[in-house]
Symmetry: C2
Subunit: 187 residues, 2 copies
């Protein structure tokens, strides 16, 4: 398998293209108008990213001549691109994922059902739940150590992190229940 690293923006693009083949301009509009991970809508980020993905064989662009407007290139996922997307979505959540990029986990989950099916969504959620449970005691312990030495605003900020983690865990369980409840309705 091609193991070149793909940045978060790359996966966002792959996920969007899987949903609907689009041009670079279309993608820019999506990034500009929605709070999808809040990636930049700047051409200097998106067009080079598309070039990289095409060079890696994960997407393929075809020029659309039909309409009267200027040349428009529509990109589609290749088989390899779909495989890379699925691989990214289905791999288990690690402690590292948790500490460095919760938003990226959410991006993975957002694309999971349409790309890999509801079973993969649930698997990702369960992986996230257990990673959170494993991570939580260490967080609490660091908090206890901090509370005695840090200024008030320091431990309060840490408290915010703990609350957000608890909130995330509650959401995870809620999402799992949502899937279990009406288990039908796969796309």
């Amino acid at each position: 398998m091609n193991t070149a690293k793909i940045p978060s923006l790359g996966y966002a693009i792959l996920g969007l293209l899987h949903g609907k083949p689009s041009s670079g301009y279309d993608l820019r509009k999506i990034f500009a108008s929605t709070s999808l991970g809040t990636y930049s809508d700047s051409p200097g980020a998106i067009y080079p990213a598309l070039q990289r993905l095409e060079r890696q064989g994960l997407i393929r662009g075809t020029i659309e001549e039909s309409s009267g407007l200027r040349r428009r290139q529509i990109f589609r996922l290749t088989r390899e691109g779909l495989a890379a997307l699925k691989h990214w979505i289905t791999r288990p959540v690690t402690r590292d994922d948790l500490e460095h990029s919760t938003p990226e986990i959410m991006l993975r989950f957002a694309f999971s059902e349409g790309t890999a099916g509801a079973a993969a969504s649930v698997a990702l959620l369960e992986s996230l739940e257990s990673a959170l449970q494993a991570h939580f005691p260490a967080l609490k312990k660091e908090y206890e150590g901090l509370k005695s030495v840090a200024p008030r605003s320091g431990w309060l900020a840490f408290d915010c992190g703990i609350r957000q983690t608890e909130c995330l865990l509650r959401w995870t369980r809620h999402a799992i229940r949502t899937y279990r409840h009406h288990k039908g309705g796969m796309s």
Copy 2:
């Protein structure tokens, strides 16, 4: 005023140095052992950052000869550095802050009390609260639009974002109450 942009890591360093003058190695250990924003502990990030900050006149390093070990350079904030740190902390929270970097707001708050005093901490919290309140309706509206068209995992992921925002707002109010309750005890 010197308006060169300072990246998030730069402010993290300024805040830590304000708390306690340290060497690059000390800072690396702090980043490696605590979950302070989860910055990298790699020398390739920290030493260049220290050089930049010194070039900008925000910190000054003095070589410590005393102990038998290898040359150690201890960095301290300059007056300009303290001013830059205060300026960063006391500026109001914008919608842009909210969308792109909640962790950075938390870093600002964590350093606020020790750097600019409890009054600045409360001001930052109040600014955050009003920014969150202003941002919330738009979030909800986007959610309503999404719910009808996106796959389940898509709107569930968005729901997570909403819950986290609510959680952050609750924490903000809790933190404000904490300050109001025993208003004494400034550092």
